[in-house]
């Protein structure tokens, strides 16, 4: 790639998500099923992800962050909206491909560029397949290499993620949680993707193992210039790993900014409450801290509140918040917030 194209590639997003909506129908009836409602898991999300960056996505359970990740890699078909991925074709030029309506062969071809690592290392590896088979499967599906070449590649990948090439014939149950997550990462890397969605990749792991996996992810990112969407509920870990951070609440992005800006100058009342709720491993600071405690629970995504979805728990809510839905606006350079009161 020449320098000029590289420079333009850097300023252009690798992935564009436009007004993405994913609703899951709620059906009733035994033989004739009627749709009686919908879980509005993702309800109009737009964001750009740039080459080489890590976008952290935080939110509480049920906010739609995992659904967003899965819809981006097209494990789910979007209800509305678009997902566009920039891919390089053979002659060094990049072109944007709309993933939204792809099917079958074409979708599979795009999956070479976009991969996913799942939360539960126990549920995401087939217990009947050997590690070699698991990691080689993407290569097999895409018809890459001869059996020997694939075996070589699998051994190389195992070394890359900190496991031994001799582990190739073992089965998932012989590994610990952290090692299994390494296998999941090796599988995601097999096709040399540009972009990986990491859906809570460390939350099932013990504290002393989390750091190992996070460091590995960062090393791999530098080595292969990977772009990450890092989804997690652990705010301190997201702060550690991300370049920019987005906060989601009930299917919407409420705030998006550069990492330090978001954590040091949060603007949205939800972001503020979320950050203040995180306990810090320092007893003195914990004692002095004025914690902002949110009242109540997250409302149901089947029937979200009118206007601003956070208004039912927001300490600042006013009449306007119930009437109109706030748009995500750029209130400072690169700092986006969806709140009427800012």
């Amino acid at each position: 790639m020449s320098q000029t194209t590289d420079a333009t590639a850097r300023s252009q997003p690798l992935l564009r998500v436009e007004n993405l909506v994913k609703h899951f129908p709620i059906r009733r009836g035994i033989i004739i099923q009627r749709q009686v409602g919908a879980v509005r898991a993702v309800d109009g999300v737009s964001l750009h992800i740039y080459p080489g960056e890590t976008l952290g996505l935080v939110g509480e359970s049920g906010c739609g962050k995992s659904t967003l990740g899965r819809t981006i890699v097209r494990l789910y078909k979007p209800t509305r909206g678009r997902v566009l991925l920039r891919v390089h074709n053979g002659n060094g030029r990049a072109q944007e491909v709309d993933l939204t309506d792809l099917k079958g062969k074409e979708l599979r071809r795009m999956r070479r560029h976009i991969q996913m690592v799942f939360q539960d290392p126990y549920a995401s590896l087939n217990p009947r397949m050997s590690v070699g088979q698991i990691i080689a499967e993407p290569l097999l599906v895409h018809g890459i290499g001869s059996p020997q070449e694939r075996e070589e590649r699998v051994k190389e990948l195992l070394t890359l993620v900190g496991l031994r090439p001799s582990h190739i014939s073992r089965y998932p149950h012989e590994f610990s949680g952290g090692q299994r997550q390494r296998i999941g990462i090796a599988r995601a890397l097999a096709l040399q993707p540009d972009f990986i969605v990491l859906d809570e990749p460390i939350s099932a792991l013990d504290v002393s193992i989390q750091a190992q996996v996070v460091n590995l992810l960062q090393e791999l990112q530098q080595k292969f210039r990977l772009t990450y969407l890092f989804i997690a509920h652990d705010l301190s870990m997201v702060r550690h790993i991300s370049d920019r951070t987005a906060v989601m609440y009930l299917g919407k992005i409420v705030e998006l900014a550069d990492r330090d800006e978001l954590y040091q100058h949060p603007l949205h009342p939800y972001t503020k409450a979320l950050l203040s709720a995180v306990p810090v491993p320092d007893p003195k600071k914990e004692r002095e801290k004025q914690r902002e405690i949110l009242q109540g629970d997250v409302p149901s995504p089947v029937n979200p509140p009118s206007g601003c979805r956070f208004r039912t728990r927001c300490p600042l809510a006013e009449a306007v918040c119930a009437e109109r839905e706030p748009e995500l606006r750029e209130v400072a350079p690169r700092h986006w917030v969806a709140c009427h009161l800012i």
Binding site: E60, A211, A273, A277, V280, P283, K285, D297
Partner: protein, 332 residues
């Protein structure tokens, strides 16, 4: 430490599980005292024996496979491990209550929330149905359930996760226990709900003057809650110190490494995380020496052959390590 004010005195507790593969050494001789009104945080990773140790105290583990193979647990002048089951039932829920990690699986789905709170009141305090119901409503109000007169007849599935945990707390506090044991009560909850629950337990602890054991893997949560923190690894206590001392001057290599492996919101972002290489030991074959030795950066030859005893290096600060981290010399 003064033995007279200790409400719970655990001495050399050992618990094993007999499995097909062999004997799992889950708790390998732990001793500590809980004083009146005190809060102890017990921190450890999965398999460290933190939950098994308190479940052993209340004798809640099914046997087989579990068996308590040694130790004493002194509570109000009696050794709980020697009590007949009938007497033990009078202690559980009344004197020592427990709240669990998963409020969905620890509440009975076919009984109303109200009935489950009334049950200990009628059983232990011999209240009549009407009185117990009144008290249940009061308790639900105390733990912050809105409209308790209505919600008392709800079933667990009608409550959200945070509300279920509140109902569990109401149940545990029904008989005003002397000791409350909380086993990872906020692990399944979101941070904003965790903050609500921690705040609630703190308030109730202070109002009722209970002693509290809070088990967690999260070093952040106990920092603001505990008076003393015990760090467990492979069924053993590695370090036990007053909360400020533990976070400021950790004296065990494991505690140190654990604290450094955490990303922290109160520090500059992007510092590379220190890792603890390797894995915890296989509890089927407990190593002869220090169980942390294979992963320890300070390791000495003697660490692999002899298990370091838990010794008091300063008043109230106990460490199980052969190496003095301040000087790098061996402890005599």
């Amino acid at each position: 430490m003064d033995a007279q004010t200790a409400v719970l005195d655990i001495r050399d507790l050992r618990t094993e599980f007999v499995t097909e593969e062999g004997v799992v050494h889950a708790v390998n001789g732990i001793s500590y005292r809980l004083h009146q009104g005190q809060t102890i945080g017990v921190v450890g990773e999965s398999g460290s024996g933190k939950s098994v140790s308190v479940l052993s105290v209340l004798r809640l583990l099914p046997s087989p496979p579990a068996r308590i193979v040694g130790g004493e647990v002194w509570f109000k002048g009696q050794d709980l491990l020697k009590l007949p089951e009938k007497e033990m039932r009078r202690i559980r829920g009344k004197e020592i209550a427990m709240i669990f990690q998963d409020p969905m699986t620890s509440l009975n789905p076919v009984l109303t929330i109200g009935f489950q709170i009334m049950e200990p009141l009628m059983l232990h305090l011999h209240m009549g149905k009407k009185e117990a119901r009144e008290r249940a409503i009061e308790l639900l109000h105390m733990v912050g359930i809105p409209e308790p007169q209505k919600r008392v007849d709800d079933y667990p599935h009608q409550f959200s996760g945070g509300m279920r945990q509140r109902a569990m707390i109401a149940m545990a506090l029904a008989c005003q226990p002397t000791v409350l044991i909380a086993d990872e009560p906020t692990t399944a909850l979101d941070v904003t709900i965790q903050a609500q629950i921690v705040d609630l337990v703190k308030r109730l602890r202070d109002e009722l003057g209970m002693a509290l054991i809070w088990i967690t893997h999260d070093l952040g949560v106990v920092a603001g809650l505990a008076d003393r923190v015990i760090v467990m690894y492979a069924g053993l206590i590695m370090e036990d110190a007053p909360v400020d001392e533990l976070y400021e001057h950790p004296q065990h290599p494991y505690t140190r490494a654990l604290l450094r492996s955490l990303p922290r919101m109160d520090e500059e972002a992007g510092r590379p995380l220190e890792t603890i290489e390797g894995l915890p030991p296989d509890l089927l074959q407990m190593p002869q020496g220090c169980p942390f030795a294979p992963r320890c950066t300070y390791v000495r030859p003697e660490c692999r052959t002899q298990r370091p005893p838990l010794v008091e290096i300063q008043p109230g600060h106990r460490v199980a390590c052969w190496v003095d981290l301040e000087t790098g010399a061996l402890r005599s």
